[in-house]
Symmetry: D3
Subunit: 135 residues, 6 copies
């Protein structure tokens, strides 16, 4: 019997959208005000969903306390109150769009959870824009 268990998290970060292989003009044309050179920022709201087998004894798919701790260690402690472009090496040559940030988070969590499951990451950049990634 397979069930999804979901847990929310959040972090605040600064970023700008900028592709180092492009000219300043092309960045401005493609990314608009999102490429402003002094950065802007967001409250990122995260939902992590594990779709896996129900453990009959515990009645759980994954222990919620451990899920919360892993999200804190792998995502919130790494990204909260940071500048994605300057402080996170992964984004040195990867544009920190919500899509790429969701993929980054998905990889870190998939490695950390270490269970047979379908993992989905839902990431709100603003209350009006969000991204979903399931590997």
């Amino acid at each position: 019997m397979r069930v999804s268990i979901c847990r929310k998290g959040h972090f605040n970060a600064a970023h700008r959208l900028y592709n180092n292989n492009w000219s300043k003009e092309k960045n401005k044309k493609v990314f608009g005000i999102c490429s402003n050179e002094n950065f802007h920022g967001h409250n990122y709201e995260l939902t992590v969903k594990i779709y896996g087998e129900l453990d009959k004894e515990t009645g759980m798919v994954f222990e919620l306390k451990r899920m919360k701790d892993i999200i804190k260690k792998e995502v919130e402690d790494v990204l909260d109150h940071k500048n994605l472009n300057l402080d996170i090496p992964y984004f040195k040559n990867v544009v920190p769009t919500t899509e790429n940030l969701a993929i980054f988070i998905w990889k870190k969590l998939y490695d950390a959870f270490k269970i047979d499951c379908k993992l989905t990451v839902i990431l709100y950049e603003t209350p009006r824009n969000f991204v979903e990634f399931s590997g």
Copy 2:
């Protein structure tokens, strides 16, 4: 690598549920107070989800600014502050339920986005009732 990018929109409209092929009594029986002849209305809250291929260069599935502009042009400018039954020809002989309204929006957006993707429309009629349509 496939990711979903989602954007919210909203519009306000009046409507009533009424099937022209039925008697007034049958409409009353099936649709209840939703068939009241002087109309009632809703704040419709819309989420549009494009599940497609990530563009490696931009780090995006679909340019968010263009997505927002298309939703405004195809949905919000057409439906906002309107009476669905009287002002929108499509609903002359189609009952404007949330289901049918989501299908109407899906068709208009699918034609406008012009990309290879799975498109999903989520439409809240009230904060407690909503519909999902994926084609």
Copy 3:
């Protein structure tokens, strides 16, 4: 000891903003698309706040069940799935703006609650616009 007890309610209605003493042109100029002749509509979200004396025995300012029932009888049953302009006599010569609707609700509830209190009505016309009235 004075405390505020608050309860939410909701109703859906159609309306248009139109002052019968003005020309069609002046209505269009002042109210814009909100004056469209076929009406539009909203999900109104209501918060009712009673600021009054705590009853030491019950530990309550006002019995919550009774508060819910009065809001249902005086507001929801009267306004839900209605056209404010056509179905509610009060708005025959009063423009059904959110301000005037909040005042209408406040008067009905103040008469019905029959207690010595400061009564506040908060009325959301959309998730982005709302009004507060305290008499």
Copy 4:
């Protein structure tokens, strides 16, 4: 043409996580403060999703009023203001985790709706933790 129609519900309940086949110590170790012997409680927020065939005549997948009534009768009237461990026989030997509670609700609703559909139950235990079950 298949569409999903969704309706929200809610109920409040007390519970504790406790597996009768384990020692008190093991329960404490696995479930932590969630196993406290005097119980704690939650406002459960429920979303029920029916993915089924659109009825061309009504423009609906399932009549919303009936859906609301069935959720009230099968779920809210049964669970609201109850102690899951003591008042609901099903949980005598089943740990009342959010996962098991969602499965319990799913079974009751699937039997009551009696239509050919994919049924999904989404259950929030807190605004930060939730579960999805689709059978």
Copy 5:
């Protein structure tokens, strides 16, 4: 220059409404299903508001980190995953209504913050019912 700084918190608890000085019948009559003997429970959502003088040097009314820590120590650690009637001595002879719980929280925080301010506690028992207390 006076400004309000607000911080949210939350905790889950079980309770029942019961006045020990009354008969079982009177409790049933006044409190209805809220007096059920096996308890029920809620996710309490708390907002704490300090209205005080702005410190020109820090640009703050009260250090947000300290505010969060005090709310955790005085409220969340004390009430989370507890039974208000059985685990909190204050409620041995005080009915744990939302009003009385807000007053209990207000007193603990007012003593702990130790600053000249107007303190307000807003406490949601459910997303639809809440209480405000300002001393």
Copy 6:
């Protein structure tokens, strides 16, 4: 007859908390991770409340369309996708805390609205922290 009319707005910005008159160490001690030198950021959610006299003819306190336009021009166009410390001269020697940002917004709006009213600005820095300022 006095009523409050409220309108929401939003903008995204980067900032850091740093008092130029203090040492790096003191900034670190007082502001913690909020003083990180590469900035972080937020989705600021704004509510603007005008408490003023109801105009009998329009049924409004202030024309909502004009209120929206002024908020856009005076706040959103100025602050959205900006770095508060580097792009907004006002914050050259003022720490961009939520308190100071709310005061900045209040002053700009009070000058722009040009009506006799009590103006309140409510500013969410995150969904969990917010500030209120009424002059």
